[in-house]
Amino acid sequence: GPLLQSERPSTPGARARSGLGLMNRTKGDEEEYWNSSKFKAFTFDDEDDELSQLKESKRAVNSLRDFVDDEDDDDLERVNWSGEPVGSISWSIKETAGNSGSSQEGREQLKSRNSFSTYTQLPKPASTYSLSSFFRGRTRPGSFQSLSDALSDVPPKSYAPELGRPKGEYRDYSNDWSPSDTVRRLRKGKVCSLERFRSLQDKLQLLEEAVSMHDGNVITAVLIFLKRTLSKEILFRELEVRQVALRHLIHFLKEIGDQKLLLDLFRFLDRTEELALSHYREHLNIQDPEKRKEFLKTCIGLPFSAEDSAHIQDHYTLLERQIIIEANDRHLESAGQTEIFRKHPRKASILNMPLVTTLFYSCFYHYTEAEGTFSSPVNLKKTFKIPDKQYVLTALAARAKLRAWHDVDALFTTKNWLGYTKKRAPIGFHRVVEILHKNSAPVQILQEYINLVEDVDTKLNLATKFKCHDVVIDTCRDLKDRQQLLAYRSKVDKGSAEEEKIDAILNSSQIRWKN
């Protein structure tokens, strides 16, 4: 079981040597080197068949795995405040509160009952206790020796420093976890060396085992190892055909914020759009408006789709405008000379607001400005090709809020070629009415627009809802709907002008009622 953690070469020199060994040999040599060293590692004086011995021990140990695992778990990984091993949270809480002696004793007893206790009591090198140590790179300071050092003192045998150990102990240190066993241990959150998977083939097998197990945590753990021990190009190349693992790497890079490698990866995969988006995403982390603007400028040339390129360009232009408007208006506001800013102080800065909000702002504070100025609504409309509908809705909301009914009127008035004026709205007059009502427009104004609603039912409904009596009454008269008019009579105030008007109509002999 867990006792079989590999022991990595314990001296920095040994590590460097193994690295150098790889570098200095041709492939054929290398195989021979590894094979021979491996072979030698299992040569015992009193054994004939080393391989069968190895297999046997592996079997034996594997069969013990579950049994020993729990023990190991506690010993290695669960440590309470005072550094003593504990089994669970509840235990650790109890122990922090009370004494830990008794439980410690119990555990000792448990251990000695375990016939394999000798295994668990083997000294374990501290570095193998944590997974992180396996993620530790060769590049740690002090782990490389000078070339001459390494060459002068590299008997192939010394790569297996445990050779001299007694047989029994040696067996326990065997690092013969298969990729599948390794991955299983990782899944259980256990400590397991990945360091010995050095050939590309081994590494990939490890990765494939992890992927086939479906546990993302393990896949990422293996990827962290691969990322550290493989060159970028090889890693990318191998992941390109392993989509599941690839997505884990991408997510991992996003999470730890390794933007540079992420962009390299997208570049390698030729995923230009993701590359562009990923770069663009960074602007969200830039608070300073000027800097953000400059950053957006760098995004414009990125390989977005044609459609998105236009959006990016617009984003840049919008922020550029906002910065100009903001500076100008802040100045105007603080000078206190402009009426609109005195009457309606700005509630927030316009920076980084959406376009429609900017348009609203501009319709509110800069409505009358000439098209040439950046802050004028018409200029915004033209620059960003805002659809009529959107523009009218926004302008209407802004002007109605200021109760500038004359502007509202102008918004819908068009002159035809004969000079006649006509009211038109791209959004349907019932919406206009609703917006006006929300901004508490006076009845006369509401009435005028309700009358422009084409659909009679909608018109009646709106008029009733907003108490525009005249419209209701006139409409009923036009519809020759006596019953409805009678019903409405009961809703108006007694003795009011409306009631009088209804009575007059009801009494009129000119109308031929339909009911």
Partner: protein, 563 residues
């Protein structure tokens, strides 16, 4: 309310010598204690905060003991951060595999809202082990499951991993009498439509309006008609709530007023009482009545507040549009409605929700509509939503029709992908294709839109469609019903294919105990809504079954899109 509050309140923690509780923030530690314990989800941001805090201590020359408890488990990336921040070795850690939080008699939540984004958007399978572990726990607590069904890639992976775990530890639960007969695993992406619809059963509406967190809701001053908010635990213990939670909203008023009348009658009884009866009344009934009175007034307040909010945002019109989308008529009108929503800057999530609903039910938007709606959306809510659209496209929630390609061509393509073994291996690359929704075809095959003539009586519902005003049967629940009825996918091959495949069924040979056959564990990977819960409760009542819901989190349209 946080999951921790549900199981251990401050006083329990104090009994265990916890000195003080702090929320982890980007601030130096205020505590003067020399032992700090952090209870964290294994998120890198949290680990970084802890690292900052410890490094600040170090810089100040302060020595303390630190312990991190990761719940439900530690990820290797967390260790990496600890190491990179130079505090590896300064901290000890532990795992607390607290993964099942029972919210009610029939709902168990894993409280992992991040599951949805991590798996469906990022493709990270880190939670699959957690869910498999939870299944294994259920399996060992309630005896071996006899039959498992499922649909979806994730469901399949969870299932495989769980089988693996079950085999490893088979020894200890063989002799247990099984209590759960069936397990049904379903991926959220099999059915987005249901999750995107406005909820109209009471519990769903309360969730959409006030947001239920861990089975508890904060009713603000507008509900309590006082100046403070009240935290209310919503579950079957609440007598008033348990009667109205599954009801269609239109039905709730009637029930509440009936309850109010009953309550009045109960109070009135005391008029004719003599001293002894009165004593009895006060000691035995009054407390219950007072409690009921309190609850009743809260729920009436909640109803009023919901009504007010819904009237303000043209809820009726919205529902009409949703129903039109589900049935597939007047599409142009719906698009205009959505456009107006966007132009008027109605809440961004709301606009996005109906936009997604449109896309899924229509198998994607025409390129012209897609472009125009996307542009208007970004103009209304901000240019950075370019990223949102990209994500939604990837998820298959909001897509652009591939021009010239007809529905059948698309279906052929999908079927080729699913049947071809080699292609399946690469299915991740094509998953956005495979996930293409063939909602219309599925809806027809499963009869999701009731054909009833005339009015649907919401008071006496006939089928699960009542949870959506009788307009639509939740797809996820309908599949469960069908598969359980047939004890497998036989006859549903076409539906499964349209849903993107990855369906499976396994039956154990063990003799079935009849009682356990009535119990079904419904596992939602990526969240489930209260409407689905209500629908399954209804199905259970109709069929004499008991559904227990295990979900990675309770979700609704807003949570789905925000994540």
């Amino acid at each position: 309310m946080s999951p921790l509050d549900r199981i251990a309140n401050v006083s329990i923690l104090k009994q265990h010598d916890v000195h003080k509780l702090y929320k982890l923030e980007k601030k130096p530690a205020r505590s003067s204690s020399d032992q700090l314990c952090f209870l964290l989800r294994p998120r890198l941001a949290s680990v970084r905060l802890v690292a900052e805090l410890i490094n600040a201590d170090k810089a100040a020359g302060r020595a303390r003991k630190y312990k991190i408890i990761f719940s439900p488990q530690k990820f290797y990336t967390c260790e990496l951060v600890l190491e990179e921040e130079g505090i590896y070795g300064d901290v000890t850690w532990d795992e607390w595999s607290f993964s099942l939080l029972p919210l009610d008699n029939d709902i168990i939540s894993m409280e992992l809202p991040e599951f949805f984004r991590d798996y469906f958007l990022e493709g990270d399978q880190r939670w699959i082990n957690t869910v498999a572990q939870a299944l294994q726990l259920m399996n060992s607590l309630f005896g071996p499951f006899t039959e498992t069904y499922g649909i979806g890639r994730c469901a399949k992976m969870v299932h495989e991993l769980w089988r693996d775990k079950a085999e490893e530890s088979e020894v200890d639960n063989m002799d247990r009498k099984p209590e759960i007969g069936h397990v049904f695993l379903i991926d959220r992406d099999v059915d987005y439509v249901t999750a995107l619809c406005s909820q109209v059963v009471y519990e769903g509406l309360v969730d959409d309006t006030f947001r239920i967190k861990c089975g508890s809701v904060d009713f603000g001053p507008d509900v309590t008609s006082s100046d403070r908010s009240i935290k209310v635990l919503l579950n079957s213990q609440d007598k008033v709530f348990s009667e109205i939670r599954n009801e269609h909203f239109s039905n709730v008023f009637g029930l509440l007023s009936q309850k109010a009348r009953n309550l009045q009658a109960q109070y009135d009884r005391r008029r004719g009482m003599d001293i002894k009866q009165m004593k009895n009344f006060v000691s035995q009934e009054l407390k219950g009545l007072k409690q009921e009175h309190r609850l009743l007034s809260l729920h009436i307040g909640a109803c009023e507040s919901i009504m007010k909010k819904k009237t303000r945002q043209d809820f009726q019109e919205l529902l009409k549009t949703e129903h039109a989308l589900l049935e597939g008529f007047d599409i142009r009108e719906s698009i205009n409605f959505i456009e107006e929503h966007i132009d008027r800057q109605v809440t961004p999530i709301e606009s996005l929700r109906i936009l997604c609903l449109l896309s899924i039910t229509e198998n994607g938007l025409s390129p012209k509509d897609y472009r125009s709606l996307k542009t208007q959306y970004m103009q209304s809510y901000g240019p950075e939503h370019l990223l949102t659209f990209h994500n939604l496209k990837y998820l298959g929630l909001l897509t652009e029709q591939v021009s010239g390609e007809t529905l059948t061509a698309m279906e052929n393509k999908v079927s080729k992908l699913v049947t071809d073994k080699a292609a399946e291996k690469l299915s991740d690359a094509f998953s956005s294709l495979a996930r293409k929704n063939n909602f219309r075809a599925i809806s027809k095959k499963l009869g999701l839109i009731p054909r009833g003539n005339g009015e649907y009586d919401l008071k006496v519902p006939l089928d699960m469609a009542y949870v959506f005003s009788g307009a639509y049967v939740p797809l996820s629940c309908k599949i469960m019903e069908q598969v359980l009825e047939r004890r497998g996918w036989l006859g549903l091959e076409e539906v499964a294919r349209l849903l993107g495949g990855h369906e499976f069924v396994t039956a154990a040979e063990e003799p079935r105990s009849p009682a356990s056959q009535q119990v079904i564990l419904a596992v939602f990977l990526g969240g489930c809504t209260f409407s689905e819960v209500a629908a399954l409760r209804f199905l259970g009542r109709e069929r004499g079954l008991r559904f227990i819901i295990l979900t990675t989190a309770i979700t609704n349209s807003a949570r789905l899109l925000e994540s």
